[in-house]
Symmetry: C2
Subunit: 227 residues, 2 copies
DNA sequence: TGTTCGCATTATCATAGACTAATGCTTGCA
DNA sequence: TGCAAGCATTAGTCTATGATAATGCGAACA
């Protein structure tokens, strides 16, 4: 059984965004690992060697690391725990979606498979967490759904918010207050490239202008394009 | 915030049974600490010095340790977490009372005050856990209730099982199968000192003979003495 | 083709928690 | 009154995980 530290590294490796245009099987450079885990570069290197010893990653000196098959399976297991716990904390205990990430970050290392499956049952086998992140099944990869960042949705399109990529409480509170939670519908009103902004109209809330960076963190399902 | 290891030591110190006839404020010898925590004597000594440094225990070399006021408050907090979690696992997730102790042993270190108070609310502020152990309030000591070990109950008495002291799954399964769970009522039929045994009649279950040691782990509330 | 700059690696050290083995108190008994 | 047996303490080591600082490699640019 891996330590909490090892579990955190594996999860971090899994969720690293591939560099633009890269396959997710490409090598992750050590600097990125160090930054993701907020440790020094030396610590990252030595930890990656340890994980490689344990067969959880493939490590190529001066090139980077990628998860091995075993490492990937473990990472998905931790991610499943994390996201089911988040959903549980919101649905059953009534916590706010802005505070469950940090709670789950600890609980994911303490919960047994048995308790986890009870939670899954109680929740009716959800397939996403409160932020719209997919919950991996107990075996195998989560299904892939094609989503469009709000920043790229066409003017006039009607979209449904499906997933919010930023876990920061401030951002989540902001999104909640403006009707940008998974399931809420909105219409894209305008792009303002010069202002680096986009304006949209959430259903049942005032219209809203967001910077491109923020809009890029809101992933949507296109319901209807501009007619 | 103490580490999980420190929390476990404090909890263990709190639940150490005082030697027969001792006040619970007496010093606990190092051998007892080492045995309770299943570590070597040297480890116990060095850990107690560390805890003394941190002001959580009073340590007298070659005599023993006792919890300080701060250590006691912390121990009660951990115990509250442990027992509320156990009750939650049984009541909400439907786990068996024989398996929740080990689960809670991990979760007690991972759960936040916020989540804990939500659980407490959801359960309706229970004051005992599934084994009948009292749940300490968020501040202060748990109320003391006078209970009688089944081994000492008089022949002919009607008693209600209030608390089961052994957390071993085997013992708990045995107790459950024979109707010896908190809340179940039974009548004491006979003492057989020569056989080191006691016979009782649980309501709605076959009568049962137990060794004195086992009967001593079943604490009861006397409902009615022999007429 | 050579050099430099950015990143990675190595070397050294620290801390928490554990172990084993050697040593040292203390107390009860002769 | 003295000593041995039973505990407890100390000394030295180990592993996991971190840090810092010195060194090294290699890709891109001159
Ligand atoms: Mn975590
Ligand atoms: Mn999430
Ligand atoms: Mn514990
Ligand atoms: Mn209990």
């Amino acid at each position: 059984m891996p330590t909490p530290t090892v579990e955190n590294y594996l999860k971090a490796l899994y969720v690293q965004p591939p560099a633009p245009g890269q396959q997710p099987t490409e090598l992750i450079p050590m600097g990125q690992v160090a930054e993701a885990m907020r440790v020094s570069p030396g610590t990252a290197t030595s930890m990656m060697k340890t994980l490689a010893e344990a067969g959880l990653v493939e490590y190529e000196p001066r090139a980077g690391v990628r998860l091995s098959e075993r490492g990937l399976a473990l990472a998905l297991q931790i991610l499943r725990r994390h996201r089911l716990i988040e959903q549980f904390l919101v649905q059953v205990l009534g916590l706010d979606w802005s505070e469950v990430h940090d709670e789950a970050e600890e609980l994911e290392h303490a919960i047994s498979d048995k308790v986890l499956e009870r939670i899954d049952l109680l929740l009716g086998h959800p397939d996403t967490d409160p932020h719209g992140d997919p919950i991996p099944p107990s075996h195998g990869q989560p299904a892939h759904v094609e989503l469009t960042p709000l920043s790229l949705a066409e003017v006039g399109a009607q979209v449904t918010v499906a997933r919010v990529l930023d876990q920061q409480p401030d951002f989540l509170n902001f999104a909640h207050q403006h009707g940008l939670t998974p399931g809420s519908r909105l219409t894209v009103l305008a792009h303002q490239p010069a202002a680096d902004a986009i304006t949209c109209q959430p259903e049942g809330a005032p219209s809203l202008t967001l910077g491109t960076a923020a809009a890029g963190k809101i992933l949507t399902l296109i319901e209807q394009t501009a007619s």
